[in-house]
């Protein structure tokens, strides 16, 4: 198991380096410069002032110097200062947002897992029943629904028409003055819609996988053996069926992490949640390269971490991999 883990970690190193290289090049090759944004068509800016800004940000140095400076700082988690006029340290800007995005993603994973798995089990164990057909319809609706449309519909229904849930943001304006339990509810109520919307697609997908996987397991010989030795149907299903069917589901859950992180870009913008995704959009539009590159690196690292965790948990649920150490991920 340990050898497997080490091997898995070692594979990630060149992968990470590749990501660093590609992201740096992509950003540098894109046309336009941050100084252009800072003074978009202001009638009072002159060329000399623009040159001042370029030097201030080190944009006048050759590209390999910029790359080397950046890489050596990344190793120390020093991503430099933002190009934005606040000039804050990039790591500070991201650090205050990471907990929000990670918290949101963990909640989404929990919701996806805890709804998709029972849903999959129920429809697989009652294949072709009315319930199975209804969930199939639900799942395809889930696949087909665009996030942004669902988000707006739910906001209009629960926020504007019914007024049950807040429309956007993370806290109410009077948050500081609320008693503790009201604060907890305030936070939760703000999270219900974004988590639901973000989880919807993944939930549909994973419940489908769970159903398919369980249907396959149900037809295995050892299931027949279990029934033959007289185990009750519940025990057969959960002890022998579900446990085996979960293997691909757990892997896929880990692989969903990059997708959810990507989804944060949209969810956090629409729901005005000050997380990393929102920062990414802002930085992209204002060509805030240090922040963008830091976000790409951190996002990529988190995705890699998700994959590693998936592989490890794969090892945990599947003894064959743990024992041989030869298991191949993906």
């Amino acid at each position: 198991m340990l050898a497997y883990l080490v091997r898995r970690l070692l594979i990630s190193v060149p992968l990470l380096l590749g990501i660093l290289c590609l992201s740096f090049l992509m950003l540098k090759l894109a046309p336009g410069e941050p100084t252009v944004i800072q003074q978009d068509l202001q009638a009072r800016a002159t060329g000399a002032q623009r040159e001042t800004l370029r030097q201030l940000y080190g944009l006048d140095k050759p590209i390999y110097v910029q790359f080397w400076n950046w890489i050596s700082r990344v190793a120390r988690l020093d991503f430099g200062r933002s190009y934005m006029p606040d000039g804050r340290r990039v790591i500070d800007k991201i650090a205050e947002r990471i907990p929000i995005t990670l918290g949101l993603n963990v909640l989404e994973l929990i919701v996806i897992f805890s709804v998709a798995v029972p849903l999959g089990i129920l429809s697989a164990s009652r294949q072709h029943s009315g319930f199975d057909k209804a969930t199939t319809v639900f799942v395809f609706v889930g696949f087909a629904t665009p996030d942004f449309w669902l988000a707006l519909l739910l906001m209009i229904l629960f926020g504007v028409q019914l007024g049950w849930l807040p429309i956007s943001g993370l806290r109410s304006l009077n948050f500081e003055y609320l008693p503790f339990w009201a604060q907890v509810w305030d936070l939760l109520s703000h999270l219900i819609l974004p988590v639901l919307v973000a989880a919807f697609g993944g939930l549909a997908y994973l419940s489908r996988i769970m159903r398919g996987s369980l249907l396959e397991v149900i037809r295995q010989d050892y299931m027949r053996t279990a029934r033959a030795k007289g185990l009750p149907e519940r025990a057969v299903l959960f002890k022998h069926g579900v446990r085996n069917a979960l293997i691909p589901v757990v892997t896929l859950l880990g692989l969903m992490v990059p997708g959810l992180l990507g989804g944060s870009v949209f969810i956090e913008t629409v729901y005005a949640i000050p997380g990393m995704g929102q920062l990414f959009v802002q930085s992209a539009f204002s060509r805030d390269e240090p922040v963008l590159m830091a976000l790409v690196v951190i996002g990529a690292s988190l995705s890699l971490l998700g994959n590693i965790l998936a592989d490890v948990s794969y090892g945990l649920v599947d003894p064959r991999i743990r024992v041989s150490g030869q298991g191949v991920a993906e």
């Binding site: 944004i37 068509l41 001042t52 006029p85 606040d86 429309i167 943001g169």
Partner: protein, 538 residues
């Protein structure tokens, strides 16, 4: 402060929706909170070194300038109670108001003004607004309440440039002298100003909270708190507005016309409408021989139905532009040559210019080459994209083939505008509060980072623009800029398209809003909510 920004709301007094409860039914009262939506987070709280409109809006409530513009866009004293212009028009002397205090209790003096001046002209200061201050030859503190600046040459935009936010020298000067980047100081996150509102908190990406400054020199503002909620999505802002969680924002033409016209909304909000301080234009690269011919540009002006753009794209919320200035300003000349929609005349002018024959596709041909060009505009502006399509159709009707290319903003500016690598562009100019447009039209301003993108050159215009800057005499300036507008109308260096309306909406519980040529925000400190209608207690 409005003099040097692109965002000052300014307008003629056309407005609708007078508050339903007419004046006099309830007395001004202190209290309540006004919640505004901001599409982007602010970038810092020393607005002199930011260039985004959110930072300027928040900063404008925290800081004040020596002068400001009144409801009719005339300069009036803010921190200065008055000023003198020397007879040779070279020297400006400001007399500061006595007894004005920074929000930490220190007095505001000429030392603060002097520090702000020296900071703005410091080459290390990352500001886009230093230019007017570099025209100053000598600046001196005469006494703690008198400040005098002398310019190289008479410089008419000088006065409005002193609307810039005055910074507290007792907080920043030592750090600046020690070479510290002021963006890293506490002042940039938690500022002390001299304006009507005191900074309370800034939760990154979430909100900014300001509270009224009880010792503000003009009296305590009525609204106790102003909260800017940062909501990066336009449709979310609109939903929050409909749910009454936001008290003030700007509407798009379609929201104004179609999506807010129901009784509940009309009861909860007052919509305002006035001309914005900007215009959109179709510009040509005048280094291209095809566009150097005035008749071709005039033909385009005749061929494009501008009223159709105003009606179809702006839904009537704007007006046709006839020149580079906003209608209603003192320097605007209404009786210039206009170009009513007339395709036949457009065709005749093109024929005069040698574009007579057409090829198999119906496109005009001269010397074997079809009249075909690419029109570029920036991404993310629906109104501009639709305008481009209308222009494309109208020009096709007179035999000119237009291709549309929509480019992301940074790439648009850097790849096409700076390198002058374009045939035609669709863009807009935000206008200052002074008629000086030297940077846009002077033939010397054609460097890569300068603003005469279209390479316009006319010696008479150059002379007029120079003369207009060098006198403070309004009558003289009016005559100078009048002639300038006549030349613009005749030459059509760009086809002037439209001036859009600004469409702010404010909760109907807020009273005291009096639309004026300057828009609605000029008397913000006098806005109030009657006691029985106040919504937020803290």
């Amino acid at each position: 402060m409005a003099g040097l920004l692109l965002l000052g709301l300014a307008a003629c007094s056309r407005h609708e929706a007078v508050p339903e409860s007419a004046a006099g039914d309830s007395a001004p009262a202190y209290g309540d909170t006004l919640v505004e939506a901001s599409i982007g987070d602010i970038s810092g709280l020393i607005p002199n070194i930011t260039s985004d409109s959110s930072s300027h809006e928040v900063g404008g409530l925290i800081y004040s300038g020596l002068i400001r513009t009144d409801k009719n866009l005339r300069p009036e004293g803010e921190l200065a109670e008055g000023w003198d212009v020397s007879p040779d028009e070279l020297t400006l002397t400001f007399h500061l108001r006595k007894g004005v205090k920074w929000q930490d209790g220190e007095p505001v003096t000429a030392r603060d003004v002097d520090f702000t001046y020296r900071y703005m002209v410091d080459p290390k200061t990352p500001t886009a607004y230093g230019e007017p201050f570099r025209q100053i030859r000598k600046a001196e503190i005469v006494d703690p309440y008198t400040y005098r600046v002398t310019y190289e040459k008479p410089y008419a935009p000088a006065l409005l440039s002193w609307g810039t936010w005055i910074l507290p020298s007792h907080i920043l000067e030592a750090a600046w002298k020690a070479g510290v980047d002021l963006r890293t100081t506490r002042q940039n996150r938690s500022p002390v100003g001299s304006g009507p509102y005191v900074f309370k908190e800034w939760k990154t990406g979430e909100k900014i909270v300001l509270e009224s400054y009880h010792d503000y020199w003009e009296g305590r503002p009525f609204l106790n708190r102003v909260v800017y909620r940062i909501i990066p999505d336009q449709s979310t802002i609109f939903l929050e507005l409909k749910a009454k969680n936001i008290d003030m924002t700007g509407l798009t033409p379609i929201q104004y016309r179609r999506q807010t016209d129901y009784p509940a909304f009309r009861k909860a909000f007052n919509k305002y409408r006035y001309l914005s301080n900007s215009y959109a234009y179709l510009g040509f690269n005048l280094r291209d021989p095809r566009f150097q011919d005035k008749r071709v540009r005039q033909a385009f002006a005749y061929a494009i139905d501008r009223q159709e753009i105003v009606d179809g794209v702006l839904l009537g919320l704007g007006q046709v532009a006839v020149g580079p200035y906003k209608p209603g300003t003192w320097w605007f000349k209404p009786d210039v040559k206009t170009y009513p929609f007339d395709p036949a005349r457009a065709k005749a002018l093109l024929a005069e210019a040698g574009w007579k024959e057409t090829n198999a596709d119906g496109v005009l041909v001269r010397d074997g080459k079809p009249f075909s060009f690419t029109l570029r505009t920036n991404q993310g502006n629906q109104v501009r994209q639709q305008t481009a399509e209308i222009i494309q159709r109208r020009l096709r009707a007179i035999g000119v083939d237009v291709k549309i290319h929509i480019v992301e903003w940074a790439a648009f500016i850097n790849t096409f505008i700076r390198k002058r690598d374009f045939e035609a562009i669709l863009l807009g100019w935000g206008l200052g509060l002074d008629p000086d447009q030297y940077e846009i039209w002077n033939s010397k301003m054609t460097g890569p980072d300068e603003l005469n993108h279209i390479s316009y050159s006319n010696p008479r215009v150059d002379a007029l623009l120079e003369a207009g800057r060098r006198t403070f005499d309004e009558a003289k300036r009016k005559a100078i800029y009048g002639e300038f507008q006549d030349i613009m109308a005749e030459e059509q260096p760009v086809v002037f398209l439209y001036v859009p309306d600004a469409l702010p909406v404010v909760s109907s519980r807020v009273r005291g809003i009096e639309p004026a040529p300057a828009g609605i925000s000029y008397n913000f400190t006098k806005w109030y909510v009657p006691t029985d209608e106040q919504r937020y207690t803290r």
